[in-house]
């Protein structure tokens, strides 16, 4: 089972989904799930193997290389996992919508192109799969019409600028070393001048910053994630952004090597600190903007940006603990963010597309499995001890504290508080609180939706309790980057500056939980009263609206709202308007009068003669 065959199966499956689609929708669903699972199994078989085979097929005389090592296997398994879960989830989510073949083929195509990116061994095939992923994502984002279209436009314009920067970087590397394969470049780039490497790295940061939604380039993410169909939002937030992280790791550690990167500085401002501070800002600001959102998916989207800040902070920090924390957070964020999006998707599916946090409530009793999933997901993103989020945040905090970096640590802490507050609002407004009448008879989420939710929750808890499983792979590729090796055992990291042992940690949590449950069980039951009949001194109250969970953080919003205006978004909007205006002015040149056209010809000839006389080059 070579890599090429795996990619052919993935791409072929994606393109051929139309055939069973013509026959019957049932057959197409089976086909889609089969292809997704086959790809998952295919990637699983490459565990631990490091393959490096140059394809016989050359593109414009350049060799195409597919290779896999621990790093790409780690990402690949995450991609195929999240992808197949989303496909299973969308079996019933997309059932009665039109253009379902189109949807499935694009989901599988994006899956396949992400695998391609991860397995690419040279800058050219990386770029080819990157571009296929970009335009397929554009088509899927604009899948449900209406205001998904401007979101899609914003996404594709930013991603095209990113790909342009990537092409310039890749080809200036080619101009200097006349090769595009990673291994060849990484050996030769050590001799490059700091100016050239920082030029390449800055372009790389632009490309992967846009895909990763770092602060200055984050404006496309909230619209894209909230307008895309929920299962695709899960893939988008879960793993598609992580392609940017994979790019960061690739450029920082595989191509340039961390030692050379940390030397790059410009008058006392080192590139590494710039990246760390960008990560810190990305943690703080989006999390507090998320606090203000009323739309569930938009809240989750802003949190995706926040969590990316953690990952970038971890990776940019450069110590083995930091990189391990960042990489592990990639996997964790994929699991709980995808889980949260799937829960919102399930709620949206059942309540007919309602995502507004102010009009939902009390769905805990009607959709228990979704509630459990959302609960575990929220614990994960906050970083409660039992979940995998705790382990990766612990690693990141550990690096920040160990290296005496109080400000970054404080920013990370601030981010966690923001997450805590907003997810309290998220859980409460959707699942706790009072069940409105119109959702009295709400049915449970269909089984095909519950399977991925349960699987995700299981993974979160499993990796929370036994983090050794993924950490062993991460330790593998961290040492391959030349950082200090970590010794990892099944339940944590052993190091003289503070070991992490999740077993006794979870034992402590479970016992505390058990004690609380005992106290709760024997205490006096309070009489459950509906919130509807609270006395309001005779004023007429809109029955649904009068819940204390409506406009949860209004006072905070009044206080901080002014500072949280998304200035960067307005700048991009202004830029778009400027191009439109220049278009209007420039096309006035074609006045429609034939004599002006002849004037232009005479103008050109006269100008060249004038140039020749007065400026004899």
């Amino acid at each position: 089972m070579t890599l090429g065959l795996l990619l052919i199966v993935a791409f072929g499956g994606a393109l051929l989904v139309y055939l069973p689609g013509k026959i019957s929708s049932k057959l197409r669903d089976v086909w889609a799930v089969l292809v997704a699972l086959a790809v998952l199994l295919g990637t699983a078989t490459f565990y631990g193997k490091s393959v490096h085979d140059a394809l016989s097929y050359q593109f414009l005389g350049l060799p195409l290389v597919l290779r896999t090592n621990d790093l790409s296997w780690f990402f690949a398994i995450a991609i195929s996992g999240v992808g197949s879960f989303s496909i299973i989830f969308s079996l019933s989510y997309i059932k009665n919508r039109e253009r379902t073949d189109f949807y499935y083929s694009l989901m599988l195509l994006i899956n396949a192109s992400m695998l391609g990116i991860v397995f690419a061994g040279d800058l050219l095939s990386f770029y080819v799969f990157w571009e296929i992923m970009s335009w397929a994502t554009f088509l899927l984002i604009s899948y449900n019409r209406g205001n998904a279209l401007p979101a899609g436009m914003k996404y594709i314009v930013m991603s095209m600028t990113g790909s342009a920067a990537y092409l310039v970087a890749a080809l200036s590397l080619y101009a200097k070393y006349s090769t595009l394969t990673f291994s060849a470049i990484s050996t030769q780039i050590t001799t490059a001048s700091p100016g050239f490497t920082s030029f390449i790295l800055i372009l790389g940061f632009m490309v992967f910053g846009i895909k990763n939604a770092l602060v200055p380039f984050h404006t496309w993410l909230p619209d894209a994630h909230s307008e895309a169909p929920s299962p695709f939002s899960a893939v988008l937030s879960g793993i598609l952004i992580k392609m940017g992280t994979y790019g960061f790791i690739l450029f920082l550690y595989v191509l340039v090597g961390f030692h050379q990167f940390s030397q790059l500085a410009w008058k006392a401002v080192s590139l590494q600190s710039v990246l760390c501070w960008l990560g810190a800002i990305t943690i703080v600001i989006p999390t507090f903007i998320a606090l203000m959102q009323d739309d569930a998916k938009r809240l989750l989207a802003w949190h995706s940006i926040g969590q990316i800040g953690y990952i970038i902070l971890g990776i940019a920090y450069g110590t083995s603990l930091g990189v391990a924390g960042g990489a592990f957070h990639v996997l964790n964020h994929a699991t709980f963010k995808a889980l949260l999006f799937l829960c919102v998707g399930a709620v949206e599916y059942r309540t007919g597309g309602v995502r507004d946090l102010n009009s939902l409530g009390g769905l805990m009793r009607r959709m228990p499995i979704t509630f459990i999933g959302a609960l575990i997901g929220a614990f994960g993103i906050i970083g409660m001890p039992l979940t995998n989020g705790f382990v990766s945040k612990w690693l990141i905090y550990k690096t920040l504290i160990l290296n005496q970096d109080p400000f970054l640590a404080f920013a990370a802490l601030l981010g966690t508080w923001g997450t805590l507050l907003s997810f309290y609002k998220f859980l409460h407004n959707i699942f706790l609180g009072q069940l409105p009448e119109k959702y009295k008879d709400l049915k449970k989420a269909p089984t095909s939706m519950q399977i991925p939710i349960l699987l995700y929750s299981g993974i979160i808890v499993l990796f929370g309790v036994l983090p050794g499983i993924p950490l062993k792979i991460i330790a593998g590729f961290v040492t391959s980057f030349g950082l200090t090796p970590l010794n990892v055992n099944l339940w944590g990291i052993v190091s003289e500056t503070g070991t992490l042992n999740t077993i006794n940690l979870s034992m402590a949590v479970v016992s505390a939980f058990f004690a609380a449950w005992v106290v709760f069980a024997f205490s006096r039951r309070s009489v459950p009263t509906t919130a509807q009949d609270t006395y309001a001194a005779g004023a007429s109250i809109p029955r649904d609206k009068y819940q204390y969970s409506v406009e949860f953080y209004n006072p905070l919003y009044r206080m901080m709202g002014r500072y949280l205006r998304d200035v960067v978004d307005e700048f991009y909007g202004w830029l778009a308007r400027v191009t439109q205006m220049t278009g209007e002015i420039v096309r006035r040149l074609y006045t429609g009068d034939a004599r002006d056209y002849v004037l232009y010809i005479v103008l050109i000839v006269a100008a060249s003669i004038g140039l020749k006389i007065w400026w004899p080059t």
């Binding site: 096309r587 006045t591 429609g592 009068d593 034939a594 004599r595």
Partner: protein, 117 residues
């Protein structure tokens, strides 16, 4: 050198007057007249390029015609082709002008601006 400057002045002058007419006059037919003036200037330039001082026309006959002092025949061949191209373009231009007049009712180029920007 033969007194070629008179011819250069002549053909450059014709070209400039033709271009001036095309640039400043509003009526489409006047512009086409400018075009034909411009092309006449070009034909003059083409023939002048081939002229040799004191040489005779490149036609042999029983009595006269020694190849040594004859004018260069190639530019004259080029001009013949160019003149007929000129008249072909002119005929097409004027037929289009007639159709344009039927559609717009006027030939003022400032008003014929349906297609712009």
């Amino acid at each position: 050198m033969f007194h070629q400057s008179t011819y250069f002045v002549g053909c450059v002058g014709l070209m400039i007057v033709g271009l001036y007419t095309m640039l400043t006059k509003k009526n489409l037919i006047k512009v086409i007249i400018g075009l034909s003036l411009f092309e006449t200037g070009i034909y003059l330039l083409l023939v002048v390029v081939g002229y040799i001082q004191g040489a005779t026309a490149p036609i042999f006959s029983r009595t006269t015609g020694s190849p040594a002092e004859m004018v260069d025949p190639t530019p004259q061949a080029l001009v013949l082709t160019a003149i007929v191209i000129g008249v072909a373009v002119l005929a097409l231009a004027l037929s289009l002008t007639i159709r344009l007049h039927e559609h717009y009712g006027t030939l003022n180029l400032r008003k014929i601006r349906g297609l712009k920007w």
